[in-house]
Each structure stands twice: as structure tokens, then as C-alpha cells.
């Protein structure tokens, strides 16, 4: 092979992977990077989108949202909503996965439970919102059961009371999201060698010790991966809250996504909405970097 031919061959080999990647890179560039950069640009402009020649605003809009108590309330609500969701997704998912993995439960019952437990996953956010609005309305099933059991003295307006609204939407989100954890953890549980438990049985481990010393450490890579992903996804939840409470009452369930949406499409303050969106982007980016670093470390 001549030197020219060899160089040509090497060049082809070097370029080929990028050629294969180029369609997806173009799509990502157009549909993700471009809007992101544009929104970052808007956050530094006065009357972004609305005026043809917007002036440079510096950090004014960031200042404005940081001075807005509703933004801080939204941030707190987002953190509460996200943390509670992730913790309970994990806990419920783990309990159900352990139940479904147990050979003490009759196989037929186990298959029925498997279908039942996975049901919430089949519904879209809109359907989940509608279901829980119906269940939790003052004259709904939940109030009626709680009243009959004597747990509550009078009907509770779960989504309309500032005291309960945030807990109610968090509850609905927990119900909607645990199947992902359950399925992932069940797959992980089925991959743990039976020998580990038998060795532990001989060593005298009790059930809780097997859970602490074998099951959880063996599932840790799955637990960390899906928890981080769930954190990133839950932080950005919009339709469930928008349809159940719309961020109300009196900002009681306002989260960063609804706060940003209202700024953009109720107040038409697209510059401030962009600044708020950039804040969400930075938080998500931080978590994503953490996730990528964890995955690389593995």
C-alpha cells in the first residue's frame, strides 16, 4: 500500500464514526442545544421575544427572580416534592420488589400482584392527575373511606387547601412513579446469586441482616442510578401539578416548572421565565454531571 493510500485509509477510519453519529448530533443540536442557547440568551435580554431589538439586561432578570418570594417558595416546593417522591419511590419500589421476589408468595398471586403493582406505570400524567383529582375531591372515595374509618372528622379539600395540597400532589406523584423502581430493583434482586443468601443462612444471618449486608449493597448501583435519574426527572415534572392544582392554592404547590410556565405564558415575561429556566437547567446539569461521574466511576 502506498503512503497516500494509507493516509486516505486512516482518514476514512477516523471520520467514519462521526459520519454515523452526525444525524443524531444534528437533531440534538437543532432540538436541544439551539433552544437552550437561545433561552440562555433571552435571560440576558429585556423584553425577549416580544421586541425585535431587545436590549441587553445583564443579570437583571436573575436579580428579579431571586428577589421574588414565590421563586424561593417554588424552589422549596420542588425540593420537597422531588426528595419525598424519590425517597418513597425507592421505599415502596423496594418493598414491592422484595415481595414479588419472595418465594414464600404463591406464584399465581405473585403474577397477579406483579400486574397490579405495575398498573400506575401504564397511565400518562394527565390520566393520573384526573384519577387523583376524582379520588381526592371533597366528595371523593378517599374522603368517604377516611370519614367512615374515623381518621378524619370532616371532608378534607386535599388539592384546594394550602395545608394539604403539596402533600397531595406529592402523594399522586409517588403513586405514579414507584413502578420504575420496583421493576428495576426486581431485576436487580433476581440477579443476586442464591448462594449469597444460603451462605448467610449458614452464617446465622437474620432476614434484616441479609437485607442490610447483602441485598442493599448488591442493589446499590441500581439504587444510585435510578435515584439520580428520578431526581432529575421529578424536578421537571409539570403536567401532574398543572392539571391537579395549577401551582395553587396561593402558590402552595408552585414548583419551578409551573413558576416558569406562568412567567412565560401568563405574565408574558419571557425574559424572567428564561432566567428561571436557566436556574432549572443549572440544577439539572449539576445532578446530571454527578450521575455521569458516578456512572464513569463504576
Amino acid at each position: 500500500m502506498t503512503r497516500q493510500k494509507r493516509t486516505h485509509h486512516r482518514l476514512k477510519r477516523a471520520v467514519a464514526p462521526y459520519l454515523y453519529l452526525s444525524p443524531s448530533l444534528v437533531i440534538i443540536g437543532l432540538l436541544m442545544l439551539l433552544p437552550m442557547v437561545t433561552v440562555i440568551g433571552y435571560s440576558f435580554q429585556n423584553s425577549a421575544v416580544l421586541r425585535r431589538d431587545p436590549s441587553f439586561a445583564g443579570l437583571k432578570h436573575y436579580q428579579a427572580i431571586f428577589d421574588d418570594p414565590v421563586f424561593w417558595a417554588s424552589l422549596w416546593h420542588t425540593l420537597y416534592f422531588t426528595c419525598m417522591s424519590v425517597v418513597f419511590h425507592m421505599t415502596i419500589g423496594m418493598i414491592f420488589a422484595l415481595m414479588l421476589n419472595s418465594d414464600r408468595i404463591n406464584p399465581t398471586l405473585r403474577n397477579i400482584l406483579r400486574v397490579l403493582y405495575i398498573l400506575p406505570w401504564l397511565f400518562t400524567a394527565v390520566i393520573i392527575a384526573v384519577i387523583w383529582r376524582l379520588l381526592l375531591e371533597p366528595n371523593g372515595v378517599v374522603n368517604s373511606i377516611l370519614l367512615q374509618l374515623g381518621i378524619i372528622g370532616s371532608k378534607v379539600e386535599w388539592f384546594s387547601s394550602p395545608r394539604t395540597a403539596l402533600h397531595a400532589v406529592t402523594f399522586a406523584n409517588i403513586w405514579a412513579g414507584y413502578p420504575l423502581f420496583m421493576v428495576s430493583l426486581l431485576a436487580g434482586l433476581q440477579g443476586i446469586p442464591k448462594d449469597f443468601y444460603e451462605a448467610a443462612d449458614i452464617d446465622g444471618a437474620k432476614a434484616y441482616q441479609k437485607l442490610i449486608f447483602i441485598t442493599i449493597p448488591q442493589l446499590m448501583p441500581i439504587i444510585i442510578s435510578i435515584s439520580l435519574l428520578d431526581f432529575i426527572w421529578t424536578m421537571q415534572v409539570f403536567p401532574l401539578i398543572w392539571i391537579t392544582t395549577g401551582g395553587g392554592p396561593i402558590y402552595a404547590t408552585e414548583v419551578l416548572s409551573t413558576y416558569t410556565y406562568k412567567l412565560a405564558f401568563s405574565s408574558y415575561n419571557l425574559s424572567q421565565a428564561s432566567a428561571s429556566a436557566v436556574v432549572i437547567l443549572l440544577i439539572s446539569l449539576g445532578l446530571t454531571l454527578f450521575y455521569i461521574r458516578y456512572q464513569k466511576a463504576r
Partner: protein
């Protein structure tokens, strides 16, 4: 340390499959007993029943004089080494070895002292902070041994602990386990499908087939006096050659050859006379067949054979042959591999042998080493 006694142990699964049938076995205090047999013979099931990992359908099981049938594994005072080693990958070697002590709530200082002692015995001291993934197969095996030793159990149960190692390491670990067992003097029940391990490691060997105990004896007696054709075929590698022939007077007759039997053969086996004029199964080990051209083979009578293939191993030649007799299946699935498809006999010749594949030879045999079995029951005569 303790005696392990199994009396009429049966194990039947839900689908009415009898994994173990009336197993009676007594393992003396400090003895090294090997449970051996082909795949699916029930040896691992028997071990797991002793460990308490499988329920016993019926029968009595005593460890150190105590009936343990209804006891959970932790109360049986046994330790088990698994085929996969079952080392916890997220724990260091130290944590793996100390796990049972940690569960028992032993103080840290005591755990460290005990683990250090064991690590020294097993030459693991420099590896105590390593995770199992960073260890070689042999080191993992030693950690698994350490985890069993830390409990100072009454009995060790080992389920094919060497089967994941390469051939050379297996030989080394075989010797290590044997000497460790002698040093500790702990009653040990060791399951394997490898008859070489069975013959070299155990004080006694129990041969199982289809959940039924065939013979329990010292390796030497199993080799020299198998109770049936299965044990004869299973013990020894390559397997014993088993053929059908007719006993006529003092000769074993095939259509093309006759083997004259000495009086001693009838003296040793008085029952053999009763087979006169009838078919009988005779067996001869590959090492009792000789190349008649060599000095070692000249003193024996010969029969015609055709060489089908030769494996030159350096120290010996494994010669596959065809002789004019009907081969008898011992019931050992592994035996088929020894004979191959084209041949029906195998011999172990000295490396000086010059026999070539495809040639007709005279095969010398030491008739004093013949074994005889009933053609129906396959029991030794």
C-alpha cells in the same frame, strides 16, 4: 468436631422425583469423606440436606449426636464452601471472613485476632483489604475456606469447591485442602464429580448414582474391588473396559478370541463357576492392558485388537482400540467420552510403545486383574 450420621435419608421433590433414596452414611469424627457421582446423582442435594439448605423428606440426620433434621442451617454447627465460593463482592477479604463473627456480635478486636490467625494459615494476610474481584481463582478459593474455618464448625461441607479452577491450580488446591483438613482434623464432607479428586483427597469415598448409594469405601478398595459395574466404570480414568463374553469351562469366549482364566480367579470368586456356559460381564482397567511387543506385555496372553487412535501424553500413550466383543455400558455418562465412537476399548501403554493408528495388534492383558459382573444385575461376582 463431630460425627455425621445419615439414616434412611430420602428426598422427594413435588413432581415425585426421588433425588435421594434411602441414603445411609456415617462419617466419623475427623474423617474426610468424598461424595462422588455423575451429574444429577444427588450428591449436592445430599450435602445441601446436611447443611439444612434443603428439607429432608424422611429419615434421620445427626451431627455430633444431635438430630438436626428440623434445625435451621445456622444451628447445625457446620460451615459450607460453595462451588461459586459465594464471596460477597462488596466486602473485603477481611469482611468476608469475619462476616459470621460480625453477625454473632463478636467484638472487633476478637474478629481481627481470629481473622489474622486464619489469614496467616491460608497465606491471605497481604490480601485482607482486597475485594474478591481483585483476587485470582485460587485466592478466592482460600478466602472461601477461611470463611468456613472462622466459625470453628463441627463439620465442613464442600460443594465442588475446585471445579471453577484451571487444571494446574486444581491439583495444587487439592493438596492444600487435604493438608488443611488433616491439620484441622474437622469432619469434612466433600462433593465432587471428579473421580481424581475423590481418589486423591478422601479417607473414604461414597459413590452415588441416581440418588442411591452404590459403595462407601477407601479409594484403594473402590478401585480394586468395585461392588458393581457402575462403580467399576466410574472410578478410574480412563474408565474400566467392560465386555460381555461367555464363560466356557475356564475360558472367556468371544467369537474371535478366548481368554483363559487361572484357577485363582475361581478361588477368589466362588460364584463365578455358576456362570459356566452363560454370559458374564468382564472388566479390565486400561492400565492392565499391555502392548505385546514390549517387555512388560510379553508374559501375558493376548487377544486381537485394532488401534483406532492414540493420545500421546508423554508419560504414557492412551490407545483407543476396537476388540471383537460387545461393550457393556456401566451406566456412567462420562465413560462414553473415554471410549469415543469408533473404539470400544481403551488401554494405557508405556511411551516406548510404537503401535500406530489403524494397525492390527495383539493386545496383552493381565488376566489376574479381571473383574466379573453379573450381566443382568451388574453386581460384582
Amino acid at each position: 468436631m463431630a460425627e455425621v450420621v445419615l439414616e434412611n435419608i430420602c428426598k422427594t421433590y413435588g413432581n415425585n422425583f426421588h433425588a435421594i433414596d434411602q441414603l445411609n452414611l456415617s462419617v466419623e469424627d475427623g474423617e474426610f469423606l468424598i461424595l462422588v457421582g455423575p451429574s444429577g446423582c444427588g450428591k449436592s442435594t445430599a450435602l445441601r440436606m446436611i447443611a439444612g439448605l434443603e428439607d429432608v423428606t424422611s429419615g434421620s440426620l445427626r451431627i455430633g449426636g444431635i438430630d438436626v433434621v428440623d434445625m435451621p442451617p445456622k444451628d447445625r454447627d457446620i460451615a459450607m464452601v460453595f462451588q461459586s465460593y459465594a464471596l460477597y463482592p462488596h466486602m473485603t477479604v477481611f469482611e468476608n471472613i469475619a462476616f459470621s463473627m460480625r453477625l454473632a456480635g463478636k467484638p472487633k478486636a476478637e474478629r481481627k485476632k481470629r481473622v489474622d490467625e486464619i489469614a496467616k494459615t491460608l497465606q491471605l494476610t497481604s490480601l485482607l483489604d482486597s475485594k474478591p474481584a481483585n483476587l485470582s481463582g485460587g485466592q478466592r478459593q482460600r478466602v472461601a475456606m477461611g470463611r468456613a474455618m472462622v466459625r470453628e464448625p463441627a463439620a465442613f461441607l464442600m460443594d465442588e469447591p475446585l471445579s471453577n479452577l484451571d487444571a494446574k491450580l486444581r491439583v495444587q488446591m487439592r493438596a492444600e485442602i487435604t493438608s488443611l483438613q488433616k491439620q484441622l482434623g474437622v469432619t469434612t464432607i466433600y462433593v465432587t464429580h471428579d473421580q481424581t479428586e475423590a481418589m486423591t483427597m478422601g479417607d473414604r469415598v461414597a459413590v452415588l448414582k441416581g440418588g442411591v448409594l452404590q459403595q462407601v469405601d477407601t479409594p484403594k478398595r473402590l478401585y480394586e474391588s468395585p461392588v458393581n459395574a457402575f462403580v467399576a466404570g466410574f472410578i478410574g480414568s480412563p474408565s474400566m473396559n467392560l465386555f460381555e463374553a461367555t464363560l466356557t469351562g475356564d475360558e472367556l469366549m468371544s467369537s474371535t478370541f478366548a481368554i483363559r482364566l487361572q484357577d485363582a480367579a475361581f478361588v477368589r470368586r466362588p460364584g463365578l463357576r455358576s456362570y459356566a456356559g452363560r454370559k458374564v460381564v468382564f472388566g479390565i482397567r486400561p492400565e492392565d492392558l499391555y502392548d505385546s511387543n514390549l517387555e512388560s506385555g510379553r508374559k501375558y496372553q493376548t487377544i486381537p485388537a485394532k488401534v483406532t487412535s492414540i493420545e500421546e501424553l508423554g508419560s504414557e500413550h492412551i490407545v483407543h482400540l476396537t476388540i471383537d466383543a460387545v461393550r457393556v455400558d456401566s451406566g456412567d455418562p462420562d465413560a462414553v467420552q473415554d471410549f469415543g465412537l469408533a473404539s470400544n476399548a481403551v488401554a494405557r501403554f508405556e511411551p516406548a510403545s510404537t503401535v500406530r493408528s489403524g494397525t492390527e495388534i495383539r493386545l496383552a492383558l493381565d488376566d489376574a486383574k479381571l473383574h466379573f459382573f453379573d450381566p443382568e444385575t451388574h453386581l460384582a461376582i
